[in-house]
Symmetry: C2
Subunit: 375 residues, 2 copies
């Protein structure tokens, strides 16, 4: 059909260009396409088989287990499922936190993804936004002072393992020490690791994981790993998950997911990618991105374009770009910055081309220094 | 890979067999497979373009518009999006209802899908379950009496347009008349039309739609229409949707969805199916199911198997079947009944085969009459 042919061409072109979204484009699922002939549905809990047998539950369990290992989840006390993306994972984790501490206050930094606030509104949870340091990391002094004023209620902290704009990582060890200092016994730490969790495990100074005392972590599957369909992982402690288990005769399953019907294709896509890569391949993938990011930093600097990045990050912040460049390269842009994200498929040629277009456009668009506070 | 080959074979076999789930298997998306090479993501609101251009927003808008027409949504006062399935649509609609009437009580019948109660728990909404008539329809007398005791708070009613076990349709006209009788001015009616909404439009005595005074309707895309990936439609009035609009600079979009990242493939699959079928094709599809259902009823009866169905429904209720038959044909089963659903791909041969297996197994498994109240 003509309409669809035209759309396919547009999608092809637009995929070639983008550098501003944390979405891997180098996946190859050719050999998985036959699965799209069938209505795979991993109804409810992947660890409980339902009567609907057209599913990939077994594969899904292996995917979750692999991430449980990667994030050092406590033996026999973890549970999870493949979600439709990072937002659903966050909603699910915060739901668990609310069930544990119904009157808790949620603390998160100003650089947190907007979906956290949206999710908290859906869940009807109280929250306080914490100031952000210039690099996008949580201002721990502000966190300490703010929690100190509310020691009478449980504390739920959302730590960003890679913020959306600067890929800043909130330090869970520092957050834990604040909770200890204030003797907050009732606490829940959720990590939003949409893009950054996997990168952090291989490049961060403190590898994120349950050994640091977190209660849940979520990540996206279509970002660093790559998948045509947005998907993600929610990984939680089993004890917290059991609190919301609900027996449902209809599917013959205990449904502890948010979604109910869940596509069985995403788990296969993730399994396939992880199987091909292995832990070693994941590490190489991270290294490749870090090398590209280093190249981009050097190239920007050499061409007089102000640039900056967090340690261990693959996101590079540059001054806000004019609309044409934003749209062509699909650069997410906030008031004082645009960014590019050096995903595995970003090439040096693309960076060179972007630099050429930015410098051709002239430096008139660079903001005055005080508006670009990282320099 | 061997593991995946084995899974594919299992999925193929299991898809061939199932008769108990309302999932169409006759979709053909061969020509859409090239789209699975690309990370399509319809971030946020489909009616607002974001900077992430690898999307199918335009196609999605047309799909929503087609359903807005089908369900007679008020001109210039409708909005919607393609969801990951019926449950998400229900969560979204109830979220809108809560934002409109934060202290409202939600009424739904005992035959309602379990996800409604789960969603209400997530949203922290109060609810009262209404008794069910033997056919699975809401007991309107009980609804009237119960609302009469709570006239001081807004009323939110979830009407089933096809319950999961007996495909019973709650009568919105009767529900409206109860609200009028009790002079409940603050009310919201949501219709859960997962499987039944499309069937009802073509076979029901009162075609469901916004002309009856409903506020939202949701349906599944992978059920009656067919899609490998579970998906659905949430269709609401624009006025209610605008209440929760939230400006987000990150994506350059107003995100009024629950999910955020949404796959762009499901809208293409739905568009493709609707485009091929047209309204006429949809009607023929419903007619075909009704004819198969009639054949099944006659065949069951001829072979001494108690059976029953609601008027205009394609779901046939039979006594609860032994575990082997439940599992082989993937029949959803509750205490007093199993059911088969005469989806478009169910053939007379399959029905004959099922009847043969049931009768071979002997009538020992048929429950005593008083436990199968429809006869």
């Amino acid at each position: 059909m003509e309409r669809l042919d035209a759309l396919l061409k547009k999608v092809e072109n637009k995929t070639g260009d983008f550098m501003g979204y944390p979405v891997a484009k180098d996946f190859d699922i050719e050999e998985l396409l036959p699965f799209f002939k069938y209505p795979l549905n991993n109804l409810g809990d992947p660890f409980v088989d339902s009567t609907y047998a057209v599913n990939s539950n077994e594969i899904e369990r292996e995917v979750i287990e692999q991430f449980a290992d990667l994030f050092q989840a406590p033996k026999d006390n973890w549970w999870g499922y493949v979600t439709n993306g990072g937002s659903e994972g966050n909603l699910y984790s915060l739901y668990l936190a609310r069930e544990k501490y119904p009157n808790g206050i949620v603390y998160f930094s100003n650089s947190t993804h907007y979906s956290i606030r949206k999710n908290l509104h859906v869940l009807g949870m109280q929250c306080i936004t914490i100031r952000t340091q210039p690099n996008g990391e949580m201002d721990y002094k502000d966190l300490h002072q703010t929690i100190a004023q509310h020691r009478n209620v449980p504390v739920i902290v959302v730590a960003n393992i890679g913020t959306t704009m600067t890929e800043a990582v909130d330090d869970v060890i520092t957050i834990k020490s604040i909770l200890n200092d204030l003797a907050i016994q009732q606490n829940y730490i959720h990590c939003d690791g949409a893009l950054g969790a996997i990168i952090n495990v291989f490049s961060g100074k403190n590898k994120i994981g349950f050994h640091l005392g977190i209660d849940s972590i979520t990540l996206s599957g279509h970002k660093f790993i790559g998948s045509p369909i947005p998907c993600g992982i929610a990984l939680v402690t089993k004890a917290n998950r059991d609190r919301i288990a609900m027996s449902i005769s209809y599917t013959g399953s205990l449904d502890t997911t948010i979604t109910g019907s869940r596509n069985g294709h995403s788990p296969i896509i993730l399994w396939h990618a992880l199987h091909k890569l292995g832990d070693n391949g994941l590490k190489q993938r991270v290294d490749k991105c870090l090398i590209t990011a280093q190249y981009a930093m050097e190239t920007f600097a050499k061409n007089g374009i102000p640039c900056w990045k967090n340690e261990g990050a693959i996101t590079i912040v540059i001054p806000p770009q004019p609309v044409e460049i934003q749209q062509k390269w699909q650069l997410a842009t906030e008031e004082f910055m645009s960014h590019i994200i050096c995903m595995p498929n970003i090439s040096r040629e693309q960076i060179d081309l972007l630099v050429k277009e930015i410098t051709q456009d002239g430096s008139k668009n660079f903001p005055i220094k005080e508006k670009f506070p990282f320099l």
